[in-house]
C-alpha cells in the first residue's frame, strides 16, 4: 500500500514510517507541509494519506480541501495535536476520513489505518 506522510516534523514522520514498516507498509512518500504534499501527491498516487494539521506554508486542513477540490479520492487520516471536537468536525467536513490525536500509541495508529481502509473498501 502506498502511504504519504505529511508532517513538518521529521521526527514524527520517522515514527509513523517505523510503525508502518512494522506492519509491512514500506512504499512511503513524505512531505513537510501542504504545499510540498500537493506537489507530490499526483505523481505518487497514495492510497492513504496521514496529514498533520499545524504546518508552515500550507496547513493540513487547507491541503485536505485543496486535494478534495482537485478530485483526490484517497483516504485521509488527520494526525494532530488538535483535539477539540470543533476541530474534528471541521476536519471531517473538509474531507478527512478518520482522526488521530497526538500523542498516540503505535497500536492506535494501526487501528485507525485498518478502520479507515475497511470503511473505504466497504463504500
Amino acid at each position: 500500500m502506498k502511504v504519504m506522510l505529511i508532517d513538518d516534523s521529521k521526527t514524527m514522520r520517522n515514527i509513523q514510517r517505523n510503525i508502518l514498516a512494522q506492519a509491512g507498509h514500506t512504499d512511503i512518500e513524505e512531505a513537510c507541509d501542504g504545499q510540498d504534499a500537493l506537489s507530490k501527491v499526483s505523481a505518487f498516487a497514495p492510497e492513504l494519506l496521514l496529514v498533520d494539521w499545524n504546518m508552515p506554508n500550507m496547513d493540513g486542513l487547507s491541503f485536505v480541501k485543496a486535494y478534495r477540490a482537485a478530485g483526490g479520492k484517497s483516504s485521509i487520516i488527520m494526525v494532530t495535536t488538535e483535539a477539540e471536537k470543533t476541530r474534528v468536525i471541521e476536519a471531517i467536513r473538509a474531507g478527512v476520513n478518520n482522526y488521530l490525536v497526538k500523542p498516540f500509541a503505535p497500536d492506535l495508529l494501526l487501528t485507525r489505518i485498518q478502520e479507515t481502509l475497511a470503511r473505504a473498501k466497504a463504500a
Binding site: 516534523s9 504546518m55 495535536t81 483535539a83 490525536v101
Partner: protein
Amino acid sequence: MDARSISHFIASTHQVFETMLSLPVTPGKPSACCTVPSFQSDVSGVIGMTGDVLGMVVLSFPLSTARGVLKAFTGTDIDPNSPDFSDAVGELVNMISGAAKARFEGLSVSISCPSVIIGPGHRVQQVSDATCIVIPFECSAGKFAVEVAMRKAERAVGTKAA
C-alpha cells in the same frame, strides 16, 4: 493561573512522555518562574499560545536529560548539532502544548509552530504581564521543567471555562 490550568500541563506532560516515550515522569511542586531552577537549562522548546489565552509554553532540559529523553522518543542518540535534535524537541513541546490546550474547555486557543533554543545555561524570558509558573519534572533521563506563562486575552475577559 489557577490550579486547574497547571494540572492540565502536568497531565499533558504525563500523557506525552508515557504514550510516546514509555518514560514515566514525576512532577514536583509548581512555583513562580522567578524561582532559581534546580538545573541548568541548555535546551528549550518554545510554543506561543494565542486566541482566548495569550502566553507561551517552554519545555527546558539540561543537555544530558534532553539527549536521554530524545533517545527514548526517537530510538536513536541524536547529535545536538543535528537539525533532527531541535525537530524532536519541537515536536515534544508541540504535543505537550496541544494536549494541554485541548483540556481548556470553553476556550479557543491556537498554538504556534515551535521554536527551539540550544545553548548552555540560557534563560527564556516569559511575557511580563502574564502569570508564570514553572512545573519541575523528573524522569529516568534526569530533571526537566515545563514553564507556562499565560493570561486571558482582553476579548476573552468574562468568558467562563465550562
